[in-house]
């Protein structure tokens, strides 16, 4: 073992350039004639290099942490805690006091001049109009009070003491009140309220979450909900074709929003075979919304978009709905035996406005919250 230690020492001295010329020559000869030693030199050299990089990075990280703490203490940066910058604010105020005072007085003077000019030039007739307007405002105010009363009576079904976690879209896969959405819309929350396109809210429970497929099923549990007779659309079992025209309905804001585009790839982000790539304008909130083809068949569920590219979105393929529900039924989950995925499509061949008209009430705004 002493030999090994000596050899390692020699290698380190060689790598650090601590050998004199004669020794160096001798050692290089040794390397040439003994492949084992050469191998050791290469390996150890690389290891030492890694150690050096490690040392440098560790020092860097430490000095960043120290800098962070220092700046935080000085109030140059802050992390939402108590602001320690009081001294600084005062400093700034002292520094800019004069400028601020001048700016304020100039501003005041200008304002006076302008309002004087305005008074002087405004025709007298305007006085009348202004009066009328204010009357109208009175009326509106009354109306608003009246409406305000009405609105107060209809309380939101989102409980007062909860935290809204996320919002997205969803759509019925069974007229009895089973809604499909993305798993990430629910974000591990405990409950959700769904809102239809007329603004009615219904309580819903989370019936199933499949994080892998990024799909989830909600069940509307609300006496106010009247099940539809039948869904106007069907869900497509087969894959769709490249270039197929598609459209979506969803809730990137409180109102339902329509968008259209085309299927641009048979696979999703990073060649994910569970999803399609779609060229469509999608915004946060469109997640979980249905993607229809021209015939009004659901071919996918909008789920994500590519942040650095304009209009590139991804949709989970509709056949995943079938495989998910089939699996649930096969596993003997009785709650899902009642689900009849829609197979009859009554939207084929009618124009888009009529299609949307029929579809609208099946697409929901999903509000997920945590108690």
């Amino acid at each position: 073992m002493t030999d090994d230690i000596l050899l390692l020492e020699a290698i380190e001295r060689y790598l650090n350039g601590d050998m004199d010329a004669a020794e160096r020559n001798y050692f290089e000869n040794l390397r040439k004639t003994t492949p084992e030693i050469d191998q050791m030199v290469v390996e150890h050299g690389m290891f030492l290099h890694q150690m050096d990089i490690y040392a440098v990075h560790r020092n860097l990280r430490n000095s960043f942490q120290a800098t962070h703490a220092k700046l935080l203490e000085r109030g140059d940066i802050n992390e939402g805690g108590e602001l320690t910058t009081k001294g600084k604010v005062i400093q700034i105020w002292n520094k800019y006091k004069r400028v601020t005072a001048i700016a304020a007085s100039v501003g005041g003077a200008i304002a006076l001049v302008i309002s004087g000019l305005a008074l002087y030039f405004v025709p007298a007739i305007n006085g009348n109009q202004i009066e009328q307007l204010s009357k109208a405002v009175d009326v509106i105010k009354k109306n608003q009070q009246y409406q305000g009363n009405l609105i107060n009576e209809v309380k939101s079904k989102v409980p007062m003491d909860v935290r809204m976690i996320n919002g997205g879209s969803g759509f019925l896969i069974d007229p009895k009140g089973f809604i499909l959405t993305n798993a990430h819309v629910l974000k591990g929350t405990g409950a959700a309220v769904v809102v239809n396109s007329k603004g009615q809210e219904f309580n819903a429970t989370i019936a199933h979450v499949d994080a892998e497929k990024d799909l989830a099923i909600l069940k509307i549990n609300d006496a106010d909900f009247t099940p539809l007779k039948a869904l106007p659309y069907s869900i497509r079992r087969n894959s769709s074709d490249l270039g197929e025209q598609v459209f979506t309905l969803g809730y990137p804001r409180n109102d339902i929003v329509y968008g259209e585009g085309y299927l641009s790839a048979r696979s999703g982000y990073n060649s994910d075979s569970l999803s399609y790539q779609v060229q469509i304008s999608a915004n946060p909130g469109n997640s979980g919304g249905p993607l229809f083809n021209n015939n009004g068949e659901v071919i996918g569920i909008l789920s994500t978009r590519q942040a650095q590219a304009e209009g590139v979105a991804f949709a989970v393929k509709s056949k995943n709905i079938f495989s998910m529900v089939d699996e649930l039924v096969k596993n003997g989950d009785t709650a899902f035996e009642k689900i009849r995925l829609p197979s009859k499509n009554s939207l084929k061949g009618i124009d888009r406005k009529k299609q949307i008209n029929k579809l609208e009430e099946s697409v929901f705004y999903v509000k997920a919250f945590r108690k």
């Binding site: 073992m1 090994d4 230690i5 390692l8 020492e9 390996e43 690389m46 290891f47 030492l48 890694q50 150690m51 990089i53 490690y54 040392a55 440098v56 990075h57 560790r58 020092n59 860097l60 990280r61 000095s63 960043f64 942490q65 800098t67 962070h68 220092k70 700046l71 140059d76 940066i77 992390e79 939402g80 993305n182 990430h184 974000k187 994080a211 990024d214 946060p284 997640s287 789920s303 994500t304 978009r305 942040a307 650095q308």
Partner: protein, 188 residues
Amino acid sequence: MKADSNEQVLLKGLALNDSKAIETIYKDNFSMVQAFILQNNGSYDDARDIFQEAMIALYEKAQNDSFVLTCQIKTYVYSICRRLWLKRLQQMGRYSHQVDSLEETVPVEEDLDIHEKRNAEFAIMDRALNSLGEPCKSLLEGYYLKKMDMQALASAFGYTNADNAKNQKYKCLMRLKKLFFSQYNIGD
């Protein structure tokens, strides 16, 4: 947009681990990154992490002698942080959220790949060192990281002479190398 001479000086300072330069870059850029991360589902800790990662990436770039930053430090740091954070969001499955903003960015994918490789290597070495246990860890850190000589190490660790310390160091080093190379692929 070329980095002005002032920024070049800052980068040179960063490359030399100069605390003044680090402080200036940190102060000028941190709040912007923090605001971006907080807006996009992140916490204060996330912001600190991501920003420091970006500083390391910038350091690596500045290390390179032939390197000329072709944009402002601000733009570069922001671009790196943005990519890093997007990636982390995606790993956490929180992807579809609002991650767009209208700040200017530059492509940094290549730099990030290099940076990530470095990061992985750092983690391997860190794990290996930390699983060594004492006194091996301190002994090797003393010799290889702090570059202390054997005599000083022997007295610091209470060995009767430098040869004993050398012996012990050798055993520790063999263990460390074994741990390191069990996870590090030379071929890559």
